[in-house]
């Protein structure tokens, strides 16, 4: 692969260990291109989630997880930033939709502002809510029920609400950990289309164990195996002509 110019994110020699000796991610180095979708693939347990969660420092919530190496966002080491600021710039969408159960749809979109103690005028709030719900193609479905709780929506709608909630803070990067694995095929298709549209605004890194999904939507693909980044390339190259034997056998369904 040609080297990526002006990467928005640089992962440099990152290793992550659970406890003292269980290394789940081993010396991963990769640059991520701006306004693209990068898929992270690999058999289950290979360290995809572990790597992704290091990028917005979710590991700091748990003792005994050690991250070494550097992660640079626009050249700035994220591991040295204040975590609250860093996480505002790098959003995350989880496997199971998790709108805040006590907040209505309106407040769920604004949750990032509420939790950061940022005061907004009514007009600003309305504007943010409408823009972001339109962005995830949810506005028409919920515009008459903004005061209902988010948990009343269908799974696919909830996940789109969660994406809107992350986008509302206008992050540079959106991390997604198997965001469609809990959804039905139609809701999945909807979200895939959505992501392709969204990459004009935000750089997306998506963990998926669904190869055809990665093939459909991603510009770049990483293949991980046993904690190592085995191959990283243009998706078009990776899916037609993988270089590593392990990648090839994974993509042809002979592994995991």
């Amino acid at each position: 692969m040609e080297s990526i110019k002006d990467p928005i994110l640089q992962i440099k020699d990152v290793s992550i260990a659970y406890g003292n000796n269980k290394r789940a991610v081993k010396n991963v180095t990769a640059d991520v291109a701006k306004n693209t979708i990068t898929a992270i693939m690999g058999p289950s347990g290979c360290g995809k989630s572990t790597l992704l969660r290091a990028i917005n420092r979710m590991h700091e919530l748990y003792k005994a997880i050690h991250v070494t190496g550097e992660i640079l966002l626009n050249g700035e080491n994220v591991l040295l930033m204040p975590p609250t600021e860093e996480r505002r710039r790098i959003g995350m969408v989880f496997q199971r939709p998790n709108p805040f159960p006590t907040m209505n749809i309106y407040d769920n979109v604004l949750a990032g502002y509420i939790l950061n103690g940022i005061k907004l005028s009514r007009a600003e709030k309305d504007e943010i809510v409408e823009r972001n719900l339109r962005n995830v193609m949810l506005w028409d479905e919920v515009k008459d029920s903004l005061t209902k709780r988010g948990t009343f929506l269908s799974g696919g709608q909830q996940q789109r609400l969660c994406i809107a909630r992350s986008l509302a803070l206008q992050p540079d990067i959106l991390l997604m950990d198997e965001p469609t694995s809990a959804l039905d095929p139609i809701a999945t298709k909807y979200i895939e289309d959505l992501l392709v549209q969204l990459k004009n605004e935000v750089t997306i890194m998506i963990v998926t164990h669904n190869m055809s999904q990665a093939k459909r939507i991603s510009d770049y693909s990483m293949f991980m195996y046993l904690g190592e980044l085995i191959e990283y390339d243009d998706s078009s190259v990776m899916f037609t002509n993988p270089k590593d034997e392990r990648t090839r056998s994974y993509l042809t369904g002979k592994m995991g």
Partner: protein
């Protein structure tokens, strides 16, 4: 045909088991119903507006009414006011402290502070209430040179605390971890996420725990004897001795002239506890996490 017969036997067994279960549940319900019935039958005649709004009659008035065959004058308003004020003060302190400790216990498992709090909570929960009364007597009544409603509140606070701590802790434990992660992933600070996402999500269960804690301590008599002491007049002043409904039941029992008031007071207390429990059940259902 054979299969049909088998089926019939199974249906019969099923019915039999069902009946056995019903009988046994009825058996366990009997003592409860008997208590309720006894209190209801003996107490309902006492209940009236004046019973709820007037203070304890003095012994002389009571004696006169009794010998004349009139209904007993006065009521238990001094106890109701005292119970209300002391519970309110106790709850106002116990709720924030209990919720905070509960969060700490569930969040910082294994940390020395959490371990200490956890031990103390267990210890408090197992301490007989009369001992709590004596301790508060030494710690509050003696230094403040007198019995007071405040001392009573402190005793009730100590009794409510472990219940609120445990119910908060248990609720926080069953909230999904991703809820917290989602809040933090939006850049929320730890305590903001705790107070604006986690605690509200757990609110229904925590509130239920609070109601149950109140219903658990509302009938406590022993610790109040050493602290609030009791009083015959309606008093809102927390720095002075105060009465409480369970204390009054004890006083009525000890005064031959007032004994007929026992049942009205008991009925009041029992009804209140029952309502609190029903309310708690409903809230728990509605706010299920």
């Amino acid at each position: 045909m054979v299969r049909d017969k088998n089926l019939q036997i199974r249906i019969f067994k099923n019915r039999l088991l069902y009946i056995v279960v019903c009988v046994f549940s009825a058996l366990t319900a009997i003592p409860l119903l008997a208590i309720l019935g006894e209190v209801l039958v003996r107490g309902w005649k006492q209940l009236s507006w004046t019973f709820l709004t007037e203070a304890t009659p003095n012994a002389f008035e009571a004696m006169m009414a009794m010998s004349a065959g009139d209904p007993m004058p006065g009521g238990i308003a001094n106890g109701i006011v005292g119970t209300f004020v002391m519970l309110l003060v106790a709850a106002v302190i116990a709720i924030p402290v209990g919720i905070f400790c509960g969060i700490c216990l569930s969040e910082f498992k294994g940390n020395w502070f959490a371990t200490v709090v956890s031990y103390i909570t267990d210890l408090l929960q197992g301490t007989p209430s009369i001992i709590i009364g004596i301790i508060v007597y030494i710690w509050v009544v003696v230094p403040m040179k007198g019995y007071s409603g405040f001392a009573g509140s402190v005793a009730l606070f100590i009794m409510m605390l472990p219940l609120i701590i445990r119910s908060t802790e248990e609720t926080m434990n069953i909230l999904p971890e991703t809820l917290k992660e989602a809040g933090l992933a939006l850049g929320g600070s730890y305590w903001r996420v705790m107070l604006q996402v986690m605690v509200p999500s757990a609110f229904g269960s925590i509130f239920t725990g609070i109601l149950l804690a109140i219903s658990r301590v509302i009938g406590e008599t022993a610790p109040l004897m050493f602290t609030a002491l009791g009083g015959a007049a309606i008093s809102w002043n927390i720095s002075r001795p105060m009465s409480a409904v369970p204390l009054m039941i004890w006083e009525f029992f000890n005064d031959p002239n007032l004994q007929s008031l026992i049942w009205g007071a008991s009925l009041f207390l029992l009804t209140f506890v029952l309502c609190l429990n029903l309310l708690a059940k409903r809230i728990q259902k509605k706010w299920k996490v």
